[in-house]
């Protein structure tokens, strides 16, 4: 049972990181960014490119497989994905904002971006499954019948650091405070002297950085393929709704809950139910608590 709990937390951490980015885009830019899965995939592939260049086994970091090259690649992929999303915002979403396009136009545009990016990934990297390394790390026994991989510990640690950093950023930094203001009332934020366009840029940067981290970590413990973004976007949306779309912390909680429920679904009935369980929870939450666990009732604007 504890083993499934640990597996669920590891899986949930990755979903949570992706869902936080989704939550920021949803609340600040006010649309459901269906391309967030592909941003995550881009992060994973950029890391793969750098890990391959740097080579496996250089610069070991204790028992963590790949060591420093993995962390270095993650930072580099954060930079690349940020530049990519800022570029897409500049040529597409900024123009839609100027035209005061409807929310549905933004969502369809995001769908278009996701399809395009997925195909570009296939074109460049091919459609086959790829791996960061074929090294099989040794699990650490933490109690009788319960083992954890050092890489899983690293994922839990990075998620914890990311969530704490995000909390400090949103509550202590001026940009974080501005972001919360824009998320609540963009018109009032503007008349308070906030440059809303700059806040939008920072929201993209934050969301893309977290997606790059989540994508790299996910690919590190599983594999890469061009469909990985599409496969992850659905649990990420489920996490967002379960936790509450208006709350960034809700996205973290939702991600962990979805990860845990998927893990226990595997324990109870087999891997075939893994995908179905998150949607069952999603439907139950939508029926009984539509605002999610930590969310507030949404405005109609």
């Amino acid at each position: 049972m504890i083993q499934f709990l640990i597996d669920g937390l590891v899986n949930g951490s990755i979903i949570a990181l992706g869902a936080v980015g989704l939550s920021i885009t949803y609340n600040v830019l006010r649309f459901a960014n269906f391309a967030q899965g592909e941003v995550l995939a881009v992060g994973a592939y950029v890391s793969l490119a750098l890990v391959s260049l740097m080579g496996v086994g250089i610069g070991r970091l204790g028992p963590i497989s790949l060591g420093w090259p993995l962390l270095g690649s993650m930072v580099f992929s954060m930079l690349v994905t940020c530049l990519l999303v800022l570029g897409v915002d500049w040529v597409l979403f900024r123009v839609l904002r100027q035209k005061q396009a409807s929310r549905i136009t933004f969502i369809i545009a995001a769908f278009g971006v996701s399809m395009m990016v997925r195909n570009v990934i296939t074109l460049i990297a091919g459609g086959d499954q790829l791996f960061y390394s074929f090294y099989i790390p040794k699990a650490i026994k933490i109690m009788e019948g319960v083992k954890i991989l050092p890489d899983d510990l690293l994922i839990l640690f990075i998620t914890l650091i990311s969530v704490i950093s995000l909390h400090v950023f949103l509550n202590r930094s001026t940009m974080g405070k501005k972001m919360r203001a824009v998320a609540e009332n963009p018109a009032l934020a503007m008349v308070s002297g906030i440059n809303v366009e700059r806040v939008f840029k920072w929201s993209w940067i934050l969301g893309a950085s977290l997606a790059a981290v989540a994508g790299t970590l996910h690919a590190h413990i599983t594999q890469l393929d061009p469909e990985m973004g599409f496969e992850l976007i659905l649990p990420m949306f489920a996490a967002l709704v379960v936790g509450g779309v208006t709350s960034v912390y809700g996205a973290v909680l939702g991600g962990l809950l979805i990860g845990l429920s998927e893990s226990f679904a595997v324990a109870g009935g087999g891997a075939a139910y893994r995908g179905a369980i998150s949607f069952m929870i999603l439907i139950l939450v939508l029926v009984f608590r539509p605002q999610g666990i930590l969310g507030e009732k949404e405005r109609d604007d």
């Binding site: 001026t174 405070k177 501005k178 919360r180 203001a181 609540e184 009332n185 018109a187 009032l188 934020a189 503007m190 008349v191 308070s192 002297g193 906030i194 440059n195 809303v196 507030e296």
Partner: protein
């Protein structure tokens, strides 16, 4: 008063939310430093659209706006606010999920100098805000929210404060308090332009009034003369029978 320099000049402004239907047409007004000016008019006259246009929230198709002789037409809203202009919308004028203190901090973004001094002054003007500084703005009463909205706007130390129906939806007692606060803010050297439906109470504290009807400037003059002006009745009751 008439010798004071012009702080705000609106020149032949035509604006609307969609290009096919203009809400205000060819409106020109000027406001002198140190004045309290009330913009009056029946519902749908274009009063709010006028001050929203000045703030850059509504794009205008024709006309110019100058603040302290500098043209601010075409600037984005945050750039206009950074010129020492503050605006308080009629509704949704506080960040209700954020604390009172966080709201006041956001008000100081346009001008972070002397933030502490401004904060102390706001707590002097509105003692309730100090008491509830850690409370979420959404939990305040209607009157306290209006005070917070005024204080948030004043945190940037503006030279010009624009208020959109500050007394709307308040009880007679709170309404009186709002106008007393407007007077006190004015005594601090702030020029005030406010849109109001409550003509009598607003003109009592104003130097001048401007009357709009159907998007056009109909009348302007000293506050104490305007209420008795023979055209006032016609503008109000002619445009909105039964009011």
């Amino acid at each position: 008063m008439s010798k004071a320099r012009i702080i705000l000049e609106v020149d032949q402004l035509t604006a609307g939310y969609v290009s096919s239907m203009m809400i205000i047409e060819d409106v020109s007004i000027s406001v002198r430093e140190g004045e309290i000016v009330t913009i009056l008019g029946p519902n749908g006259a274009g009063k709010s659209t006028l001050i929203r246009s000045i703030c850059g929230l509504v794009k205008y198709t024709e006309g110019k706006v100058r603040f302290r002789s500098k043209e601010i037409s075409g600037l984005s809203t945050h750039e206009i606010i950074n010129q020492a202009i503050a605006y308080v919308p009629q509704t949704n004028n506080v960040f209700s999920r954020l604390s009172v203190l966080h709201n006041l901090d956001l008000g100081a973004i346009a001008n972070p100098d002397f933030r502490k001094e401004r904060l102390n002054r706001m707590f002097q003007l509105f003692p309730d805000l100090q008491k509830y500084q850690e409370t979420k703005a959404g939990k305040l009463s209607g009157g306290q929210r209006q005070m917070l909205a005024l204080a948030r706007a004043l945190m940037s130390n503006p030279e010009l404060l624009m208020l959109d129906e500050p007394s709307a939806g308040l009880s007679p007692l709170l309404r009186r308090q709002v106008f007393e606060h407007v007077q006190r803010i004015h005594e601090d050297g702030v020029t005030v332009v406010m849109v109001e439906q409550n003509a009598r109470a607003a003109l009592k504290v104003s130097d001048r009034g401007i009357v709009l009807s159907e998007g056009k400037l109909r009348l302007e003059g000293p506050a104490d003369e305007l209420l008795e002006h023979p055209s006032m009745r016609e503008i109000y009751f002619g445009a909105a029978p039964g009011n």
